[in-house]
């Protein structure tokens, strides 16, 4: 009789209510998110370095010296990091007939970034990088929009 009584008491202690289930699910989701953002985000096992060159056409001469090597580059839309400027050059802009446009410069910005596979190409911070693609980027002090003219791994 006592044994039965004890058995009844233990079956009471493991009774789980709907509130307990909700709490367990919430805690499980929280732990899963914690693991995801702690480990999955920093997992760079499938990442690699790429270099891409952006041509910024027709920049006013007085603004053409605003980019320097070492500048961090961000996406204009979401401010996510897009790499670091590793090389920079400029030349006089020309029109469709090849004539020099006075006071205008074309900028060539080489950016090195950590990329991840994206389809058959590469993406930096979720933005696909491919030749002929238009990119709107910025450093902390200068906005520039241009065409990607080269991508290399």
């Amino acid at each position: 009789m006592r044994k039965n009584g004890v058995g009844g008491a233990s079956s009471k202690s493991i009774r789980i209510t709907i509130v307990d289930v909700i709490i367990i699910i919430t805690a499980a989701v929280f732990i899963a998110m914690l693991i995801h953002y702690t480990f999955a985000r920093d997992n760079s096992g499938d990442g690699y370095i790429i270099q891409y060159v952006v041509k910024v056409a027709g920049v006013r001469d007085e603004l053409s010296d605003r980019i320097t090597v070492g500048d961090a580059v961000y996406n204009m839309e979401d401010s996510l990091p897009m790499g670091t400027v590793t090389a920079f050059s400029r030349e006089a802009s020309t029109d469709e007939k090849g004539r020099t446009i006075p006071g205008m410069m074309d900028l060539y910005v080489t950016i090195e970034a950590n990329a991840r596979p994206y389809g058959v190409g590469s993406a930096v911070s979720g933005h696909m990088i491919y030749a002929e693609g238009w990119l709107e980027l910025r450093t902390s002090k200068f906005y520039f929009g241009g065409v990607c003219i080269d991508v290399s791994r």
């Binding site: 709490i23 605003r66 004539r99 006075p102 910025r138």
Partner: protein, 195 residues
């Protein structure tokens, strides 16, 4: 025998009812008394959340401890408004206020030192080369170089107008006057703290 049988039946049915009712009562009691560790955890969690909300409100608004928004500074934003009618330039006066693209967001006040020059354009010279030329000073289009005194803060070298609109040189912004009668595109040339 009959009587006895009836009595036995009554007793039996009574006995069956008696065995169910205590079990039901036991279940109710176990639900009421089943205050476990998880329940305590949930209550503590709710209390901590409530305390956190109150603490944040108190510390942010009264003590200012968590008030981590940077202070706004006066920042000079140099702009170039290209190739507009000279009548547009005539409307420019010191301290006139400009707004961001027809919204209620103030961009800043116009500094007194603005210049109006004949607008540049490109033309071919006798050798077929592109050269810069200028519109007529009388009634021609003009370029306006101006400085707007704005408010905002710098974060990692990036300027946030009014603390929310990212602004860098090279960007083109659309600005309107307070009456909403003038709307022009302005190229941001430079951004600097007002000394």
């Amino acid at each position: 025998m009959r009587k006895g049988g009836a009595t036995a039946m009554r007793k039996r049915s009574y006995g069956a009812g008696a065995s169910r009712e205590p079990a039901a009562n036991e279940n109710k009691a176990s639900i009421k008394k089943g205050f476990g560790v998880l329940d305590a955890f949930a209550i503590v969690l709710i209390i901590v959340c409530l305390i956190s909300v109150v603490a944040r409100y108190v510390l942010t608004d009264e003590k200012g401890i968590l008030h981590n928004e940077p202070e706004f500074s006066d920042v000079a934003v140099s702009i170039l408004i290209s190739d507009v009618m000279y009548t547009t330039a005539d409307n420019f006066t010191e301290d006139m206020v400009f707004y961001l693209d027809g919204s209620a967001d103030v961009v800043g006040k116009l500094d007194a030192n603005f210049t109006v020059t004949p607008a540049q354009y490109y033309t071919d010279n006798e050798n077929g080369e592109l050269v810069l030329a200028y519109h007529s000073e009388e009634g021609g289009n003009v370029d306006i170089r101006a400085t707007l005194i704005t408010e905002g803060y710098f974060s990692d070298g990036t300027y946030y107008l009014n603390g929310k609109t990212l602004l860098t040189s090279g960007m083109t912004i659309t600005i309107t006057d307070s009456g909403g009668t003038m709307k022009v595109s302005a190229l941001v040339l430079d951004i600097a703290l007002v000394s």
